[in-house]
């Protein structure tokens, strides 16, 4: 029987191949793990020691009163040129505002320093590894202090929003794009070079302007006309047979109870009665929202529309499987990306059940 089992497993998985770029994704995870380890092992004890030392040193007169960065913007060599300053200010206002509570006190100035992308990521982004720009690209790092909440951050549904007392972003002047942003404790940008003070005009709008308003999403029932399957997962989805025991409305209610609506207001809801592995099921897909996740990226929309969120996420559909016999929720999956801001995603809902299943 052992040989038969081995043969069964080999035949059941003979279409399984390492996807393209798999090693790169492994390396990315490894770097993230290393960055997290370094943060815990090095940054936390150092931060505790540093914070504890400041009052003591001040008491002995060994440390002067707290001062801000000393260089005046535009008056010293190394300062960003005027056209870059205006772009940095615009980016600061576009990014920071939606990530501050509407009741928070906005910063009036930002710290700016020139650096290479590699160094900027290392210092300002806690060693995060990404490919937003070439490692040796000249970039500008901007930091603002205040109470920030990551309303636009990529985070799993149901998790707490990230917060920080500093908001940082990296701007690549050659492309005109913000490559990275984040929030956390303040970092010492002087490690990167001469720090300049830049006035900013931030309007906190977090949780107010940049989320889709509630709406009555149109519900559309679609019919799968031919078998659909995965390239690699072997999941066979066929048109539903006969009449389901529970109605589309009951399936929709079950999906909503299960939280399938996710953290967004859908532009459209698609329902399809299918046979999933032979089991009669409803697929209920909430579409047109902004489904983000940490693990596989997300990022920045380099050119968001006016009033749109700057976030770029990996999906715009969240789909639940509901047992068409019992009405039991089975699972929820999301995908359909990459797509841009909620407002952009809302204008391009997935048109068919086949594309819906493609995101599984």
């Amino acid at each position: 029987m052992s040989d038969e089992v081995r043969e069964l497993i080999e035949r059941a998985t003979d279409d399984v191949r390492l996807p393209e770029g798999f090693l790169g994704r492994v390396e990315k995870r490894k770097r993230r793990r290393e960055a997290r380890s370094k943060l815990v092992v090095i940054v936390v004890p150092l931060a505790v020691f540093a914070v504890a030392s400041i009052p003591l040193l001040r008491g002995f007169g060994l440390l002067g009163p707290k001062t801000g960065p000393s260089q005046t913007l535009g008056a010293t060599a190394g300062s960003p040129p005027p056209d870059v300053i205006s772009k940095l200010q615009a980016a600061a206002e576009r990014l920071a505002g939606p990530n501050m509570s509407a009741t928070a006190t906005p910063p009036t100035s930002a710290e700016v320093v020139g650096s290479t992308y590699a160094q900027a990521e290392k210092v300002a982004m806690s060693g995060d590894y990404s490919t937003g720009a070439p490692q040796d690209a000249s970039v500008w790092v901007v930091q603002m202090l205040g109470d920030f909440t990551g309303y636009d951050a990529t985070s799993p549904l149901g998790s707490q929003l990230p917060t920080g007392t500093a908001f940082m972003f990296i701007f690549d002047p050659s492309s005109g794009n913000v490559t990275d942003w984040g929030m956390g404790p303040p970092v010492d940008l002087a490690k990167l070079g001469t720090v300049f003070q830049m006035p900013v005009d931030i309007t906190p709008t977090g949780g107010v302007m940049h989320h889709m308003g509630a709406r009555a999403a149109p519900v559309v029932q679609v019919t799968l006309s031919a078998p659909t399957t995965t390239k690699d997962g072997g999941i066979v989805v066929k048109p539903g047979v006969g009449t389901p025991a529970i109605t589309a409305a009951e399936a929709l209610a079950a999906a909503k109870r299960a939280g399938g609506e996710g953290g967004f207001h859908p532009a459209r809801i698609l329902l399809a009665y299918v046979s999933w592995h032979g089991n009669p099921e409803w697929l209920v897909s909430f579409q047109g929202g902004n489904v983000c996740q940490i693990s596989d990226g997300g990022g920045i929309n380099p050119s968001p529309a006016v009033g749109a969120s700057p976030m770029m996420c990996i999906g715009n559909a969240e789909t639940s499987r509901i047992d068409a016999t019992s009405g039991r929720w089975i699972e929820t999956f999301s995908g359909g990306g990459p797509t841009f801001a909620p407002s952009a995603a809302a204008s391009v809902p997935l048109p068919s059940i086949e594309q819906l299943i493609q995101s599984y």
Binding site: L8, A12, K231, D232, V236, E331, T332, S334, Y360
Partner: protein, 187 residues
Amino acid sequence: MRIRANRAYVGWSHACGLAQVSWPEAGGVTDDRGFEDFYLAQAPRLLRAMVAVAASRSDAEDVTQEALARVWQRWEKVSRLENPAGYLHRVALNHYFSLGAKTRRSMGGFLHLVGPDEIDGVDERDALRRMLSSLTPRQRAALVVTDYLGYESDAAGKVLGVRPGTVRRLSSQGRARLREVTKEVAR
């Protein structure tokens, strides 16, 4: 992709605690080049094994990536183990079952529509995978470790974090269940 699964494996993750790993050390390479060779040799097999255990391509990819990342991070030490592959398999299964105890989340995974000529092959694989799906995750893991990855009971117990007797019991139950399913399909 993200999946909220409705399964739980409370207790199993404790049995697979990483702290119990105690592979004897041997000489080994310590650089990234050494890891790349290890990756090329082990990653495809591990992914197939995890597809069989997890019954989900996306979960399998997630677990495989995580296990390889953890091993790479500790490669200097792992490469000196007598059996780095055993350690990798242990980490992967441990991670998979620990995920099962929490909210399961899957990443990646893509589908496409297949042409009519591909449907037959898909149906056969689908049938085989459904046979595997009729086993419990622990039974699948035991069969994959012993029959597919080729571990003897003692080593399989180390990989799975359970006693060798437990491996034999799970494997025996799994094979019996497969025989039943095979007969049902034949009828």
